[in-house]
């Protein structure tokens, strides 16, 4: 782990000028429910990718390839916006 900075080294107003710094904190540990993505059902409409408040839906070449559980907090928005007829994402208890 990086050495903790003193207050004199911190940016004015707690601005983080390196947005990739958030990658250091793996916030997926907060999750109580996990989205389970079904590759066979997915029609790649990308609704989940658009609506994910983080960036936890992994997309490659315009297609969903999975969920990044290091950062997914299990809010369930992806499952909610997945078209009713498709239901490629379902929420399940984390400790299953």
């Amino acid at each position: 782990m990086a050495k903790l900075k003193s207050w004199k080294e911190l940016p004015c107003g707690a601005i983080i000028d390196d947005p990739t710094a958030v990658l250091e904190n793996k916030t997926g540990a907060w999750r109580s429910q996990r989205p389970c993505w079904n590759a066979e059902k997915c029609i790649h409409c990308l609704n989940c990718w658009i609506f994910c408040p983080d960036a936890a839906v992994i997309v490659k070449d315009g297609k969903v390839v999975g969920i990044n559980y290091d950062y997914c907090k299990g809010c369930g928005i992806c499952a909610e916006v997945c078209p009713t007829k498709v239901q490629a994402i379902t929420m399940e208890e984390e400790r299953k």
Binding site: W7, C12, G13, A14, I16
Partner: protein, 384 residues
């Protein structure tokens, strides 16, 4: 140009000359007219500002934070319950170090409901990380609001410019205004430290911090306020050079050989000046210290000024409900505690809910200060 203007009119006029990028505001007595007159300037095309008519003061400050975070020069105005509703957002603006500027027509806080002037609203916001200026006259309000823009931007701190509700906000005064051009030259072009909407330099604003960093960020914010005083003095000096009117962070009035002084803020300083003059005519060595900058508290300046007097009477226009003295009294006492010579301290609370503070009241305080003693620990002036 010499004009007759009420406090609200003068503050709105200063806002017009400042021509901020964004004003997001919600009207409330006694500061309603500031917003109303400014909205008229917007409708008449006299300013380039984007005016956002929000649904509450909480939203007003939230919109101001969003605007300031997007690199816009941002202003609002409020008072009393409005400032209370903003309370949560005030701390966020302070922590994000956004130089939002806000004139306030100081008013009491309910309950019971009262629309008149005292300092309860701004003093209740004292720990939110905003610069706080208290003005004695409408002229000072106009001048200070213009200074506030430069001070806020140079310190990266939000600023409150308070005039007493009704006593200043609604009373007409002869004021000397400047032309628009020199005002705009004085405040200059705003160069924000960062801009949330700059996609070439992406940043994260308002991160969550844990036990390992929150205190360090607060310490950094405190340092920003600690270092604000010389910047305020610098801007005051630049203002004096350009416009010929000068203000200090404090003002000593007839204090040269004074034995006892009264310290206070806001419009009552005018009454106190008269009372000091009358006492001086009777040969009594009394004076007044006017505090103009409440945040940052000019600790060193106050300690050096006040330690030379035998008695310092401190007058608060807001009460702390059982801190045994108003906020000003306890803070000034704290400033003087470690002085080599420690004056006798007297505590007074006056004028809550706009209660009349008369020349006779001011004279009575000076008499007690001159005698160096009074019976009660805290005296509530004029309360039946």
């Amino acid at each position: 140009m010499i004009l007759a203007k009420t406090g609200n009119e003068a503050l709105a006029y200063a806002m017009k000359q400042i021509n901020p990028d964004v004003v997001a505001a919600y009207p409330i007595t006694p500061s309603t007219e500031i917003v109303q007159i400014f909205a008229q300037y917007v409708s008449d095309g006299k300013v380039d500002s984007e005016f956002v008519a929000v649904e509450s003061e909480h939203s007003a400050m939230a919109a101001c934070i969003g605007s300031a975070a997007s690199g816009c020069r941002t202003m609002t105005a409020t008072a009393s319950q409005g400032l209370m509703l903003m309370h949560e957002m005030l701390f966020i603006a302070g922590g994000l170090r956004l130089p939002i500027v806000m004139p306030i027509a100081s008013r009491s806080v309910s309950s019971p409901l009262n629309i008149h002037g005292d300092h309860s609203d701004s003093l209740a916001s004292r720990d939110s990380g905003w610069l706080q200026f208290f003005c004695e006259t409408v002229q000072e309000g106009y001048d200070t609001l213009i200074q506030c823009v430069k001070i806020a931007e140079r310190t990266s701190l939000p600023a409150i410019c308070a005039v007493d509700g009704f006593i200043l906000s609604h009373c007409m005064e002869r004021i000397e205004t400047f032309e628009d051009k020199p005002v705009r030259e004085f405040i200059g072009k705003y160069k924000p430290n960062w801009n949330l909407l700059d996609i070439k330099k992406p940043i994260l604003v308002g991160p969550a911090t844990m036990q390992d960093y929150f205190f360090e960020f607060k310490r950094s914010q405190i340092e920003g306020m600690n270092k604000a005083l010389p910047i305020i003095e610098e801007v005051q000096a630049e203002f004096k050079q350009k416009f010929g009117r000068g203000y200090g962070v404090i003002e000593e009035y007839r204090c040269e050989d004074a034995e006892a002084v009264v310290l206070l803020m806001g419009s009552a300083c005018g009454t106190m000046r008269e009372a000091v003059d009358e006492m001086r005519n009777q040969g009594k060595k009394v004076g007044m210290v006017k505090l103009r900058v409440f945040r940052p508290l000019p600790h060193q300046v106050l300690a050096e000024s006040l330690a030379k007097f035998k008695t310092v009477a401190v007058m608060d226009r807001a009460d702390t409900v059982n801190a045994w003295g108003g906020a000003l009294f306890t803070e000034i006492s704290s400033v003087l505690y470690d002085s080599p010579t420690r004056p006798k301290m007297l505590s007074y609370v006056y004028g809550l809910g706009g209660k009349e503070f008369s020349l006779a009241d001011a004279a009575a305080v000076l008499e007690q200060a001159h005698a160096g003693k009074k019976e009660d620990l805290v005296t509530y002036i004029g309360v039946r």
